[in-house]
């Protein structure tokens, strides 16, 4: 994994703001450094500003305020065709009136490369995406996955240092999408290019990225590596958006020196949680707890936090039983029970105890 630690960043957003209508800021205050060779994903729900950021970087939308740097140079006034950035679009944007080879040769041709070099490059690019025989076809004659590969090849064929991908896998079915994720990741690693990737699919982001910037409401909520993002979310939004999450609302009763706090649930039960993003004693908080970290019917005293809940629904999923429960103020409290001896006796409507470690329960901003 390439870190963002040393040297000059390849891309820098500095205090970038964007508004389309002069009334609403779709990007509020973006500060982001992307190191050379890094694979950074902008993740967020639609309307969160992620695509706008990508378009500003590509040069298709001007920044309303702030500056974007590429290799240390400000590029706000550089037109898109002079930025030398490769781009893969949501629907591939392969030119339907050109063959695959002509599509690939296009960026080379506009750069004035001679025909022989163009052909050699196109051939190599097609081999890279494992479509060596498809040069003579039209995009419409290819399958979705093949088109996707051609689009990637086209973005790479003129050797840009930076590739932007705008939801490139959105149009593919699930299986193909997963396969392509690995292929893109593989290409990224073998070529060492910098990739800025936009998606709203958190699984995709987790699979591919070095770092993920989670966007919401025009702001980067958190930017971290996938594991940190999953295990140590800073805000309730991130916790909720990345992976499956149980949220429990409560009031902070006490904050200890080591950062642990005591929270009073709506039932009056007291639980301990790791204070991450909390206010004063007496203020509200929403705690985040991953389903796989919850144990059912724990032995007394084996974990610090034990509360009672009611089973609302049991869904048999083979390797585990997905159990939806009502716990305190949450009636969407999910517990994943391994399909092992002893748990089969659970019944819908019955009351059971659930327990967890204090470390696994993060007290965050109130939702």
């Amino acid at each position: 994994m390439v870190g963002s630690s040393s040297g000059e960043p390849m891309v820098r957003f500095k205090g970038v703001q964007k508004s389309y209508d002069g009334e609403i800021l779709v990007v509020k205050d973006l500060n982001l450094d992307i190191a050379p060779g890094e694979f950074v994903t902008m993740l967020g729900p639609s309307g969160s500003g992620k695509t706008t950021c990508l378009m500003m970087l590509a040069g298709f939308e001007p920044a309303t305020h702030g500056e974007i740097y590429l290799n240390g140079e400000p590029i706000n006034n550089v037109p898109p065709h002079k930025r030398g950035i490769g781009m893969v679009f949501q629907n591939y944007a392969l030119f339907p009136h050109m063959t695959v080879a002509e599509n690939l040769a296009f960026p080379l041709e506009v750069r004035g490369m001679n025909k022989a070099d163009q052909q050699a490059k196109v051939k190599r690019a097609l081999e890279m995406v494992e479509l060596p025989e498809m040069g003579g076809r039209r995009p419409a004659q290819l399958s979705g996955g093949q088109q996707q590969r051609v689009a990637v090849a086209r973005a790479l064929v003129f050797d840009p240092q930076l590739i932007l991908m705008d939801e490139p896998l959105g149009a593919l079915d699930k299986q193909l999408r997963e396969q392509m994720q690995y292929e893109i990741k593989h290409i990224h690693e073998s070529l060492g290019v910098t990739v800025v990737y936009v998606t709203h699919d958190q699984a995709e982001a987790l699979t591919m990225s070095d770092r993920i910037a989670v966007f919401d409401d025009g702001i980067i909520q958190q930017i971290s590596s996938p594991d940190v993002l999953y295990e140590k979310p800073d805000t309730s939004f991130v916790a909720q958006f990345i992976g499956e999450n149980n949220k429990l609302g409560g009031t902070i009763e006490k904050v200890q020196k080591d950062g642990t706090c005591v929270v009073k649930l709506s039932t009056g039960d007291m639980v301990k949680a790791k204070g991450v993003n909390i206010g004063e004693v007496g203020s509200r908080t929403t705690m985040s707890l991953r389903p796989e970290r919850v144990t059912i019917n724990p032995k007394a005293k084996s974990v610090p936090n034990i509360v009672e809940g009611t089973i609302a629904e049991l869904i048999y999923l083979g390797d585990h039983i997905r159990t939806r429960m009502t716990v305190a103020d949450s009636d969407e409290f999910i517990v994943k029970i391994p399909n092992a001896y002893g748990h089969a006796a659970l019944k819908e409507g019955s009351k059971v105890k659930v327990g967890w470690e204090t470390e696994d329960c993060r007290a965050l901003d109130p939702l």
Binding site: P80, A93, F106
Partner: protein
């Protein structure tokens, strides 16, 4: 899996052959579908196919001589027109009898023949009208001598050309309307010749109609393309306003528009006044912008512009902005991206628009009539003129030629672009 030993004919559960059963099921569905489109078929047949068929028929239909002077036509068959001698007394007697029969009070039809023949040979009209009166008074022969001696017009009966014409036009089918439509005629010797230069007009007008239509089509592309582009790319709000401006000509009465052009383009019109006021023109050298070719050109470009814009717009609307962005991201300048990527993708729209505008233009009548003056009229103005003066045959022949041209264009378009790719907004 296919069973290789299956019997030759498959049967349904009750033993009917599967094919017959399928046929029956399909036949019923076909019948229902047919009943659904029947009103449309009848409509098209009655109001579209029949009139066109009638028009095509009329362009060669030549009933006058054949039906009003049938016995003369038969009698003339044995006359040898190459000798230069007049037909026999028998023929004169026959035609005299038919003159009498064709001029019975209340059933007077003989002058139709004169009018018809007058298209081919000026003077036939008065020959027939005058002769009718005189021949009705002839009780006995010799008819040849008496007819030749009719005052003033009789000499035409002594002219072999008159009889050649009668014999030739005795055929119920004639090519003379088509010949006339191509500025040709059959001369007195029966040979096909060009009309005198002073009388040649249709070929000239066909060529003008085509050239001006090409020019107008080109102008609509030039003006319509950027507008369609704006329509397709502007935000909805602005695009809707622009669309209203584009469609406005459709909703405005032609007379209102004509008045507007007159106000704008007239000798004392806004444009001339402005140019004079600004000092570009002297008061005496005002530009002639209306009642000439310029007027037709400007007005028709204006009228036909939506027919170019709408197909272009509908094609452009389907081109995702990502194509242009992709091209730009790959290093193409705005201009290059437009030429190499955007423009080729709009070709089907241009094709559809061109076909539509051009076909409408070559058949346009009312605008050239109103603002075209003399130098800006089209062939259709002549067609209308021929209908008015009662020469439906020539009007139909001219119409048929135009019709064939349109069909040809259509075929060419189909060959090059494909009719199935046509998008009309």
């Amino acid at each position: 899996m296919e069973n290789t030993t299956a019997p030759a004919t498959l049967v349904t559960a009750d033993g009917t052959p599967l094919k017959a059963s399928l046929q029956r099921a399909l036949r019923q569905r076909r019948r229902q579908a047919f009943m659904l489109v029947l009103p449309l078929l009848v409509f098209i047949f009655v109001l579209f196919i029949m009139p066109i068929a009638t028009m095509l028929t009329r362009s060669v239909d030549n009933p006058e001589v054949n039906s009003i002077l049938p016995r003369t036509v038969i009698a003339l068959q044995s006359w040898d027109e190459t000798t230069g001698e007049l037909p026999s007394e028998e023929v004169f007697k026959t035609i005299a009898a038919e003159f009498v029969a064709g001029s019975q009070p209340g059933k007077k039809v003989i002058n139709k023949v004169g009018k018809r023949l007058n298209y081919e040979l000026p003077g036939m009209s008065s020959l027939f009208r005058t002769s009718t009166r005189k021949i009705r008074r002839m009780k006995t022969g010799p008819y040849r001598e008496k007819m030749i001696n009719i005052k003033i017009v009789g000499k035409r009966w002594a002219d072999v050309a008159t009889w050649r014409l009668l014999k030739r036009e005795g055929d119920p089918v004639t090519a003379s309307y088509f010949l006339s439509a191509m500025d040709m005629r059959v001369d007195s010797k029966g040979e096909i010749k060009s009309k005198p230069v002073d009388n040649q007009i249709y070929k000239f007008l066909f060529v003008r109609t085509f050239l001006m239509s090409i020019g107008i089509t080109f102008m609509t592309i030039l003006l319509g393309y950027p507008i369609a582009y704006l329509l397709a790319t502007l935000p909805m709000r602005h695009a809707a306003l622009l669309m209203i401006l584009v469609l406005l000509p459709f909703w405005t009465s032609l007379l209102v528009r004509t008045s507007a052009w007159m106000v704008l383009l007239g000798n004392e019109g806004v444009i001339n006044d402005l140019l004079v006021w600004a000092g570009f023109l002297g008061d005496k050298s005002r530009l002639a912008l209306i009642n000439n070719r310029t007027g037709t050109f400007v007005a028709m470009t204006h009228i036909l512009l939506p027919f170019m814009i709408l197909p272009l717009y509908s094609v452009m609307k389907t081109i995702p902005p990502s194509y242009m962005r992709a091209a730009r991201s790959m290093g193409a300048t705005q201009l290059r991206a437009h030429i190499k990527v955007y423009f080729p993708l709009t070709l089907t729209g241009i094709g559809a628009g061109t076909l539509l505008v051009f076909i409408l233009a070559i058949g346009y009548y009312i605008t050239p009539e109103l603002v075209g003056g003399q130098s800006g009229v089209f062939i259709s103005n002549q067609i209308a003129g021929k209908f008015d003066s009662g020469n439906w045959g020539l009007a139909s022949a001219l119409g048929a030629i135009l019709f064939v041209f349109v069909l040809l264009l259509y075929a060419v378009y189909d060959k090059i672009i494909g009719i199935d790719k046509m998008k009309l907004g």
